[in-house]
Amino acid sequence: MWDHEIRAMASTHAIIASSVFMATVLPAVLVPGFSVYGTHLLWLYLVSGSIAAVSVAVFWLLGLTPPTKKHSLGYKLSRLFRSVLYLFLSCLFFHTVVVLYGAPLIESALETFSLAVLLTSLTTLRCLCILGPNVQAWIRVFSRHGAMSVWDTCLQITVACTLVGAWVGAFPIPLDWDRPWQVWPVSCSLGAMIGFLTGLVAAPAWIHYHRKQLTYKCK
């Protein structure tokens, strides 16, 4: 029923996942002294950047972004401005939530903010790409019958996986194992990343196996 879209989704996800892979492996080969733990923030920014670039490009090419009613340049510019604003606000939002969850308030603010940037690029950016800068639609998507297309369902799954991954990633921090990945925010960002990759795999698979049950209202 949704075969075409599922295939498109799978290939998109493969591209995104490979970009994560490249952003991890290429610098490790090329840049001396680069490692995921040691230069964690650098890795974090590289991955966020590459995911952002790749998803924007891919979703733009796919033409998923809801069609704009007006084609004037001013309208497009205002959309772009709104998108950037939303991204920034979402960074602040994630930062606040993470601090409320117990991250240190002052001393490692940079690390916390980097994690917020990663979470933004994994979740908010995707929402922007698929739904456009429309908060109402975002809230609508995250409800039981809110998904209006295969891509909305996919968005639900990946975002939930990412956030749950980051949440679970906080669990090992208090343990006294003294591992390099227990340092703030390594475990959380790794958790978010693993959750995101899981979501990338799980979303097409889940949709594929439930394609008979899925019914969407067209917009």
Partner: protein, 1091 residues
């Protein structure tokens, strides 16, 4: 409503938990009474045949060097020549073997068996007092770790020996100010292998060469830390042991003839390098004795002991150095170190074997007599056997000595046997886990959790008309208990209470489970619709909902020491997660936002809304803002946490120290003002809430409490803080007045509190009725009572529907009265009843407020802020619960009844734990706020019950408040309901039914079952936590941290559960009391209807 079954069921569930905890704890926690007497040289031991016993003959040694190598396992010390490829820990201490073989009369190596628990502090206690330390040594020094019991160090100091100590700083805290000179080094960092050892080595040799010491104690930690870090089978261990070999060699070279060297390990280690438990690998250490002067009469013989118990070192060292044996030592002298009878001439001074044994036996007998007169935990029949044996031995000994005969070997052997049997009796009493009791406790607890869960899920069946009765289970329980008594009497000749309790609890649980199953089956058979609802209540997908998952995570976190250490943060994290889950879940179910008129509705996916969008928007705004408030107060509450010693870089909250300790006066004033302001806010919020719902109009006792006593109490508290914050030396001329005020103000507050509680209990109604006869004709204009169509008009049913009708009539006239306050002539009310809608919650709220302020009195002043946050969080939680219930009920997914969902209950109970931490408490004994015992009693107490209860109230303040306030969760959606639907009066039915808490009287059956369910759920969450910490203690009883982390956590969790359940019962009883009062009130109001 059925009050009795609810109370009985809850009481029984609590009793089950208590029985399980009691059984487990009595098998796990080893308790011993400390005898606080000390031996002196002048002591005369019974039976006296000599003027003095201990210091009679000149000592054999003047000085002793005690090298304690932590975790020196016997395997490390043994040297095996035939072993050609030794492992890293083998054959690394050749010096011991060399000395033992080359100078057999000077040295000897023994296996040295410690008693569990094999942790360093307990072991140091063991080999200095000669007793068997347990986890809880009940004595006078509960607050500090110093040893007050008689011990070797004390005796050395007493006889004028100069003690020099270096090494593990545990000694410094165990024996403060006992050392002539001491060089402690930090022992906390297990990763650090060298600091302590190198520190010792810098000073050891120079000290030994000097002459300002008689007893030198050096405690090396490197081997133990190496074991913890790398395990024994590691190259680092070889290096460390080789270093120790060198140390022993150098010490031996520097010894003089009058000096004894003891090299010993305090415990062993497992193959992974841990210790704390009771396996042979952990208990078997090594002891090596050496002296340049001949120490032993001959080379090792067959008669020498194979294994030396650790306690035996104490009497041996004491008699060799000529000091009294510590009072509570149960050790036995090491005979090979003493010359046989009649050969004392060869050695300078000293006692013969027989004399040493005799003094030892008399001392042990004296301790046994003293101990058994103080405590009764030694079984009476073994005690009487030991007494008979001693009197037989003493008459035999006296006869032998009196006649001047040489002693028979049998006498020595039986003296030794006597000492051994005393030690074994004591060990059986104090130093062994009782696995059978632990297992029984664990299984009773498991079943209790199951019972609690089932009774919460099946509450309507249990309370219903066909629910299981109580007579048969009670009979079975009593019968089982009796059987246990009789069985024990027949089999063993005496009874132990705990096993009877176990049998009774276990059988009653089984009977309950069986009957609950039958009742459920009956319920399913009766009506099929319910069957669908009940059938899946134990299915995994229903159990793995996020709230229960969070509760499960919380329980799992109790199994790891790191999470227990970080418990405050962990609980806060979980509270956050669950608080965020509520709006997300509502949004997922399309309940948070008013459904927009979009294609969804036309498609029929969503049922048409039953509520106007504005109401939904209002409710969801309340919900979201309350979530914000909740999160904010939870975050702020993090700044009131205390610090455990395990948390390295942690600063305890500045609000925790009492104001009088603050030096900076500006800061002091700021703190004081903050505290008073938050106290004032608490009082104001409570009062304004009561006034808002019209509960302050009548003239009953409760209203008096709310109007006068509550503010007075706050004023008292504020003044008390001001007085207690004054510095010692300021206001010199007012000293007497200040000390009087320090005494009087808290006591006045206590009295006011007691008075308030009594008044609330006696007259809990806050309803104000006003009948205006001149308008009574108007009542005819009200619509006649409407009965619902389905109701058959039996007298019972009529009564049941009459009450809400009357209430509605009163309410309507009240509404009209409010509307037309200016123009009374228009429509006058017939009967006005203010505050009827909150008749249950208002007194409960007031009770909580009183209790909260009373508990605040026991805390440091700064905690007022934390209590204010607690109040805010409670209010936020109640509002969130109310709004989410309204949102889900008004949009069609309402399940009927007043059931409180798991999410709220889990949040509520997690909040109790969270505020346990946020009021500066920690689950460790040193962090108990002992100051609470002296509030209002600055000169101390005479008894122990009053201070103990004050400290308990202080420690579990958060548990108490949340437990008492728990029934509010049931009432709050009803209280808030009126505002939700008053706006939507246009909806007809919704507006008509807005009777707030009177709904509960319409449906007494549902009321009781909902109350039972709520309480059972709350008990279940707390009980599951107790169960988890019991499991942690049982599984990890050999863990390194068991006595430091898990056992205290178990104690706190268990006592927290005890306090919570008691106060939950208080809350439920209070609600039932109000219910009775409301029933009476209605009867008085409607004499005809009541018949």
């Amino acid at each position: 409503m059925k009050a009795l079954p609810v109370l009985v069921l809850l009481l029984w569930v609590c009793a089950l938990y208590f029985a399980g905890i009691y059984l487990f704890v009595s098998g796990f926690l080893l308790v011993r009474l400390e005898v606080n007497r000390t031996s002196t040289c002048g002591d005369v031991l019974h039976p006296a045949e000599e003027p003095v016993d201990f210091c009679r003959v000149p000592p054999r040694f003047r000085r002793v060097v005690l090298l304690v190598i932590d975790a020196l396992k016997f395997d490390f010390a043994r040297f095996d020549r035939s072993n050609t490829s030794p492992r890293p820990y083998e054959n690394k201490l050749p010096v011991l073997e060399e000395a033992a073989s080359s100078r057999p009369a000077h040295s000897r190596l023994f296996p040295f068996r410690a008693d569990p628990p094999t942790t360093t502090m307990q072991r140091i206690k063991g080999f200095t007092t000669g007793s068997l330390p347990t986890f809880v040594d009940v004595g006078n020094n509960f607050a500090s770790s110093a040893i007050l019991e008689d011990n070797l160090i004390h005796q050395f100091g007493q006889t004028g020996k100069r003690l020099v100590f270096m090494g593990d700083d545990t000694w410094e805290s165990l024996f403060p100010k006992k050392f002539h000179r001491s060089l402690p080094f930090p022992s906390f960092n297990v990763k650090d292998l060298h600091t302590v050892d190198n520190g010792i080595l810098q000073h050891l040799y120079t000290t030994m060469v000097g002459d300002d010491w008689d007893v030198l104690v050096a405690h090396f930690l490197g081997v133990d830390h190496c074991g913890h870090r790398f395990g024994p089978d590691h190259a680092a261990m070889a290096e460390k042991l080789t270093q120790m070999d060198g140390v022993i060699r150098s010490v031996m070279e520097r010894l003089q003839d009058d000096t004894l060297l003891v090299v010993m390990g305090d415990h062993g280690m497992t193959d992974t390098g841990d210790h704390g438990g009771e396996s042979q690998k952990e208990t078997d250490a090594a002891v090596f004795l050496y002296s340049p002067a001949p120490l032993f009469p001959g080379p090792p013989s067959q008669s020498e002991p194979g294994v030396v118990p650790q306690t035996d070192l104490v009497p041996t060292l004491a008699l060799l150095l000529g000091v009294p044996i510590p009072y509570s030592s149960v050790g036995q002298v090491l005979l090979p170190l003493f010359p046989p009878h009649g050969q004392t001439g060869g050695v300078v001074g000293g006692l013969s074997q027989l004399e040493a044994l005799w003094i030892n036996a008399k001392q042990v007998n004296r301790f046994l007599e003293t101990y058994s007169s103080m405590a009764e935990d030694i079984p009476p029949q073994s005690l009487s056997q030991l007494r008979a044996e001693f009197s037989r031995l003493s008459s035999e000994y006296l006869a032998t000595v009196g006649e001047g005969r040489s002693p028979s070997p049998e006498l020595m052997a039986s003296l030794q046997a006597y000492l051994t049997s005393v030690r074994d009796t004591c060990r059986a009493t104090w130093a062994q886990f009782n696995p059978l009791k632990m297992a029984a406790g664990l299984s009773i607890l498991t079943l209790a959790c199951l019972v609690c869960f089932i009774s919460s899920e099946l509450s309507h069946v249990l309370i219903g008309d066909n629910g299981p009765g109580f007579k048969a289970p009670v009979a079975v329980t009593l019968l089982a208990g009796l059987c246990a008594v009789v069985g024990q009497l027949i089999a063993r000749g005496f009874t132990e209470m705990s096993w009877c309790v176990a049998a009774a609890a276990f059988s009653s649980e089984l009977v309950f489970l069986w009957r609950a199953r039958r009742a459920r089956m009956a319920g399913i058979a009766k009506n099929g619709s319910k069957a669908l609802k009940c059938a899946g209540w134990l299915m995994p997908h229903r159990l793995l909902t996020p709230p229960l998952l969070v509760a499960l995570l919380r329980c799992a976190s109790l199994l790891s020491d790191s999470y227990v250490i970080a418990e405050g943060r962990v609980v806060t994290f979980l509270v956050f997660s669950l608080a965020l889950y509520i709006p997300i879940h509502l949004n997922w179910d399309h309940l948070l936002l008013p459904p927009s008129p979009d294609p969804l509705k036309s498609a029929g996916l969503v049922p048409p809304p039953a509520l106007s969008p504005s109401t939904v928007r209002k409710e969801s705004t309340t919900l979201l803002s309350c979530t914000g408030l909740l999160i904010g107060s939870v975050y702020l509450s993090l700044s009131f946490h205390g610090c455990r010693e395990e948390q390295g870089s942690c600063q305890p909250s500045p609000f925790l120290s009492p104001l009088s300790r603050l030096q900076n006066s500006r800061l002091k004033n700021l703190h004081y003002v903050l505290s008073v302001v938050s106290l004032g806010f608490c009082t104001y919020l409570l009062r304004s809430c009561l006034r808002h719902y019209g509960n302050l109009n009548s003239s009953g006792g409760t209203v008096l409490v709310a109007r006068c006593i509550l503010p007075l109490l706050s004023v008292c508290l504020g003044l008390h803080w001001a007085v207690s914050a004054t510095a010692e030396d300021s206001f010199r001329n007012l000293t007497e007045f200040i000390s009087l005020a320090q005494l009087a103000l808290p006591r006045a507050a206590f009295c006011l509190l007691g008075l308030g509680l009594v008044l609330i209990w006696l007259d809990p109604l806050t309803v104000f009725v006003k009948t205006r006869s001149e308008y009574s004709s108007r009542t005819s204009t009200l619509p006649p009572p409407r009965y619902r169509a389905s109701t058959g008009i039996s007298p019972q049913a009529e009564l049941r529907h009459l009450i809400p009708q009357i209430y509605q009539r009163m309410r309507r006239s009240l509404d009209e009265g409010e509307l037309s306050a200016g123009s009374e002539v228009e429509s006058g009310p017939a009967v006005e009843a203010y505050g009827l809608g909150t008749v249950y919650s208002a007194p409960l709220l007031l009770l909580c407020g009183l209790l909260g302020i009373g508990l605040l009195l026991l805390h440091p002043e700064g905690m007022a802020l934390s209590f204010f946050l607690l109040l805010l969080e409670m209010a936020a939680l109640l509002h969130i619960h109310a709004s989410s219930t309204t949102l889900s009920s008004l949009q069609g997914t309402f399940s009927g009844g007043y059931y409180v969902p798991w999410t709220t209950v889990v949040l509520w109970s997690l909040a109790a734990t969270q505020f346990f931490h946020a009021t500066g408490h920690l689950p460790t004994f040193p962090s108990i706020q002992w100051g609470a015992a002296f509030v209002g009693f600055p000169d101390g107490h005479t008894g122990t019950i009053l201070p103990a209860s004050l400290v308990t109230l202080n420690t579990f303040a958060a548990h108490i408040l949340f437990a008492v306030a728990c029934p509010l969760l049931l009432f709050w959606p009803l209280v808030r309901e009126v505002r939700g639907s008053r706006g939507g009066e246009a909806f007809g039915e919704e507006g008509e039914d807005a009777v707030m808490e009177m709904r509960l009287r319409e449906n007494p059956q549902q009321f009781s079952s909902a109350l039972l369910q709520l309480s059972a759920r709350y008990l279940f969450i707390h009980g599951a936590q107790v169960f988890a910490s019991v499991c942690a203690a049982a599984i990890l009883r050999r863990h390194l941290m068991v006595w430091k982390v898990f056992a205290p956590k178990l104690m706190f969790e268990a006592s927290g559960f005890l306090v919570s359940s008691v106060f939950l019962l208080v809350g439920v009883t209070f609600v039932l009391r109000v219910d009775v009062a409301v029933g009476r009130w209605f009867k008085r109001l409607i004499p005809d209807a009541s018949r």
